[in-house]
Structures are given as structure tokens and as C-alpha cells.
Amino acid sequence: MPYIQIQKLSKLYKGQVVIDHISLCVNHGEFVVLVGPSGCGKTTTLKLLAGLIEPDSGSITIDGQNVTNLSAEKRDVVMVFQDNLLFPHITVAQNIGFGLKMKGVKEDKIKAKVQEMLSLIQLEGMEERYPDQLSGGQRQRVALARALALEPKVLLLDEPLSSLDPALRCDMRDFILEIHKTLDMTTICVTHDCEEALHMADKIAAMFEGSIVQYAVPQEIYYRPLSGKVAHLFGRYNILECPLFDGTLLQKCKVLTEAQALTCETVVYVRPESIWITKTPTKDALIGKVLRTIFIGEKRIVCFSYNDKELVAYSWGRQEYKAGDKLFFNIRWEDCLGKSGEEDENISGCAHI
């Protein structure tokens, strides 16, 4: 039995379908990231889980209990919002203890819990400060502690890092993961940052227009996206027809357009790093012509043509490609064909739905 089970959840807003029959299963202790473009319904899904809005149909079960019609105040779920929302008029300690106070926990117990939380988020001695005396990262940590103090069954994070500057974001990612592991939490996080999703998630659910299009572990969703939209979410890609004949891979290459991909049954989305390029011929290599290269730090993006179609690959190290150069490439099909095109039968990740 999965810990969180969402079944055919739907939500209409002013007659428009915002969430369209979503099903999703999350096991205890998992870190699931919902990723998708803005307006795809990620935050709405989170609010449905938190109980802040009621679904029009479908059900949510948490730890065996049907919570579909349970209000947010009674649900064992806490949500951390995008811009921390620390109450500005009370101190850090009062903020962290807020939820416990609302639950009617005794003063001395609250105090002990607040201290425990402060040491967890490494902000001991800051209890008497007010939120505006903290830095952005500290505020986000306090917001996290405020949620965790309630020891919720499920922690919901709505773009928890988007208000932080990039350098801080990386630290906070590690920090959130560490806490997630330490406390053995079940966490669902929303983000539009694909790197963040890949970094943190045990499983990623890609959402588009109110539906979950793919739900899989990061490697799977990255290397074997089920559609161009999912592939696009995680960076550059090439669309190729899978050259699978009699169980053996032939080193052939047919480049497809997005439109062709929709009708082709054996389409694969190949990441640039799965195309191996060299200046000298290798076994079974195909020949392309460099169109342009772009330097982006640790690697170069090499765009080259093959049979008048454009492909993209990365060149690592110092090997320089110039426009017009000839290059040789091999496609590492094994990266993109782990399941040999066989689709996961149900996207929800639930065994028995």
C-alpha cells in the first residue's frame, strides 16, 4: 500500500479544468518532485494535497486514511510556500512554535521543540530575532522548521528555493535533502527548475496542462522521456527514429521533426551527451558536418548536420570544432533504450489502479 495515493483527482476553476484526473502514488520516505511549466497545475495539486482547496472529484489517501474531505487544519500535512511567509510581527521562536501553539501543545513542550528545530536548522541563538532581521536563506530555513515542528506525515514544498539567489539555492537543496533523510519524511516538492528536480527527487512527475505525463526516477525521465514536452523540460535533445531491427541495434540515424515524432511509433529522444563525437573515425561512426559551436563553461554545444538535418551534441575537454569541420559520431542507444521502447503501463506508479 503506497503511503500517499491520489486517485483520479480533478479540479475545475471557473469551468476550466485545472487538474485533470491525476493519479499518483508515493511511498513512505520518498522525495517526489512535481515539475512542469508555470500554470500546469503543480501548485494546485499541492494545495489539494494540503486541503486548502477541495477537489471536484477523485480521492486522496494518506497513510491508509481517506483525507479527501478533511480540511487543512485537520490534515497531517504541512505546506511551505514559495515566499516563506514568516509572520513578520512575531519572533523566530514564536514562528517555529506557531503550529504547536495552534494545536494546544503545552508551553514547555513547545519551547523544547523550538530548540530542537533551531539546532536542526543551525540557527541556535536566533530565537529572539524577527524575520526581517534574517537573511533570505535563514528565513527559508525557519519556514521549513515551522512546518517540521508539527511533525507532519507529509511535507509539501511549493518552489521553496525560487526566492533565493543561485549560490544559496544549491546549499539549501542539500540541506532540505539532509533533513528529509534525517527525519524520514515523505516530501512532495513543486518546482519549475529541472536541475533542482533532478538533484532532489527520488521520483519526478512531469506535469502538463493539469495531467501527469510521466512519473519516473530522475535517470529514467531524463534519458527516456515519453514525449518531446518532457524531453524539453530537462534540456536539449535530438529526436531520432529508433533503429531497432531483430533485437540488434544498427548504427543508423534518422532524424525526425517534432511533427513526425508524434506519428512515429519508435521515436526516441536522445540527449546530446548520448551522442559521442570525435574528429577521427571510429568503428561504425557516421559522418556529420559542424554547423556551429557554443562555449558554455564546462562543455561546448556542437550543432552539426547529418543528411541535411541538425543534431546537437556536447564536446568535453579542449577538442575544438569549427564550423565546416567534418566530425564522426556514434549514438549510444543504450542510454535511451533501457526499456526498449516498452512504455510504463500506468503513469501513476500505482500497482493496482
Binding site: 494545495k47 509572520f87 510581527h89 503550529g99 526581517d132 512546518a147
Partner: protein
């Protein structure tokens, strides 16, 4: 920097000059036309006010309790009303909004005339309660408007955060909303109090001379050109209004000045 100083000084003098004139007038015995200063000073104005039969103190008391009550009731109604209109969708929302605003779109005099007839019918005319109600019709549009803006600006996210932290509706109001709307409370009560405190016509119409407020005492003196007494009364008027403001500010004090929210 220098320009800034000149600017603020100008503003200061522009604000203070009318007061100086009022203070001078209130201590004047004779002030011949065309003179810069009064030729003779005296205490006629203040003597009138302090006289027991002048009714000034009684009317001041009526005014303060009337406007105080109007302010309190306005706030109590406007807070939930403002929240409902700002945050929720319900059937007939735009109609409710229009109706709330109606009394200040239509001239208050016309409203007062119409309501007067109904008030006579229900025995509300010539009574404190009647005057209180008619003041509310004028002040509510303003205060509801203020709270709609305050709640719109604050958004629903604070409420949602409160809910996920297991606060019930009263706890959310008491510990979260109250602090978010404090600036609105100060602005709202100042506006409502002053609109009610300086209301002349509607008090006169509905109160029918039975409910005597400070403006009712003040107007005849302005009308008849007795500037000395009018000025003294005006000063009392301004001072009591200021006094109320200070009390309101103290009651709703924002100790930490943490509220980043919107004086509207």
C-alpha cells in the same frame, strides 16, 4: 539635500499657517480689517466655551461617543465584508459591491432625505440611534473600500499558511490577520471618525435638533460671522479629533513596526 529641506519646511508652514490664524482669532477681541494682527486680544471665545450653559461640553461628549461608536461599528462590519469581497467569489458579488458604494455615489443629502421618511416611520428620527445609523451609511462605503484594498493586497496566502499550520478561523484572525490589517485599521478609523465627526447636515436632518453634536454648535457661529467663538470651537474640534487619532494609534500600536502592509 538643501532643496529637500526647503520643501519640507514649505509643507510644514503650509500646514501650520491655518492653525496660527485660528489660534490668533480665538484670542482676539477686535481685529480691524486689513490689519496683519489683531489690535486687541481677549478671552471672549474661550469664556463662551467654558460657560456651563453653552452646551459645548455636552455636544462634544455626544459627538465623541457618536463618532466613536460609528467608527467601532464601521470597523466591525467592514473587516469581514472587506475580506469576503476581496477573497471570495459568491453569487451577486458585484451587486453587493455596488450597493455598498451607492451611498457615496449618490449625494448623501439625497440619501438622507429618502431615509428620513423611513426613519420617521420606524421611530428612528430625532434619536441617537437614528443619527448613528445615518452616519454609518456614509462611513461604511469608505471603510469597506479600505478593507477590500487591504485584504486584496495581503492576499489569501497568509490565511492558507495559517490553515496548514492548523490555526482555526479565530486563531488566524487573532494571530495573523489582525497584524496584517493594522495599518488599514488606523487609516480606516481615522477616516471614518473624521467623516462622522464633521457630519453636519445628516445629523441635523435625522437628529432633528434633539441630537446636538459639535458641528451643530459650530455652524451657527460661522454662519453669523462670529469668528472668535467659531475659531475657539474649531480648535476644540481639531484637538478632539487629534486626541482620538492618538488613542486609536496607541490602541492598534504596531510595536515592532513589522507590518510591511500598506497604509491605504
Amino acid at each position: 539635500m538643501r532643496l529637500n529641506k526647503i520643501f519640507s519646511l514649505t509643507i510644514f508652514y503650509l500646514l501650520i499657517t491655518p492653525f496660527i490664524v485660528l489660534i490668533l482669532w480665538s484670542f482676539t477681541q477686535t481685529w480691524p480689517a486689513g490689519e496683519l494682527l489683531p489690535s486687541e486680544f481677549g478671552f471672549r471665545g474661550w469664556r463662551y466655551i467654558l460657560e456651563p450653559h453653552s452646551k459645548v461640553w455636552h455636544s462634544l461628549l455626544v459627538s465623541l461617543s457618536l463618532s466613536g461608536a460609528v467608527t467601532l461599528i464601521s470597523l466591525i462590519i467592514s473587516i469581514p465584508a472587506g475580506k469576503a469581497i476581496a477573497h471570495y467569489d459568491f453569487v451577486g458579488k458585484s451587486l453587493v459591491e455596488t450597493l455598498i458604494l451607492a451611498p457615496i455615489i449618490v449625494p448623501p443629502i439625497a440619501v438622507g432625505m429618502g431615509i428620513h421618511l423611513s426613519f420617521i416611520k420606524y421611530g428612528l428620527a430625532d434619536s441617537f440611534l437614528g443619527v448613528l445609523l445615518i452616519h454609518l451609511t456614509v462611513t461604511l462605503p469608505y471603510s469597506v473600500r479600505i478593507f477590500i484594498s487591504v485584504f486584496k493586497a495581503a492576499g489569501t496566502k497568509w490565511d492558507e499558511q495559517g490553515r496548514t499550520l492548523k490555526a482555526n478561523w479565530w486563531a488566524r484572525f487573532r494571530y495573523i490577520t489582525w497584524y496584517l490589517i493594522k495599518p488599514g485599521l488606523v487609516t480606516g478609523s481615522a477616516l471614518v471618525f473624521n467623516v462622522s465627526f464633521s457630519q453636519y447636515f445628516l445629523t441635523f436632518l435625522i437628529g432633528g435638533g434633539k441630537v446636538i453634536t459639535l458641528p451643530l454648535i459650530l455652524f451657527p457661529f460661522i454662519n453669523s460671522g462670529d469668528r472668535v467663538i467659531a475659531s475657539s470651537l474649531s480648535l476644540i474640534f481639531i484637538l478632539s479629533s487629534l486626541f482620538f487619532m492618538i488613542i486609536a494609534e496607541k490602541c492598534i500600536e504596531d510595536n515592532q513596526r513589522q507590518s510591511e502592509f500598506y497604509y491605504l
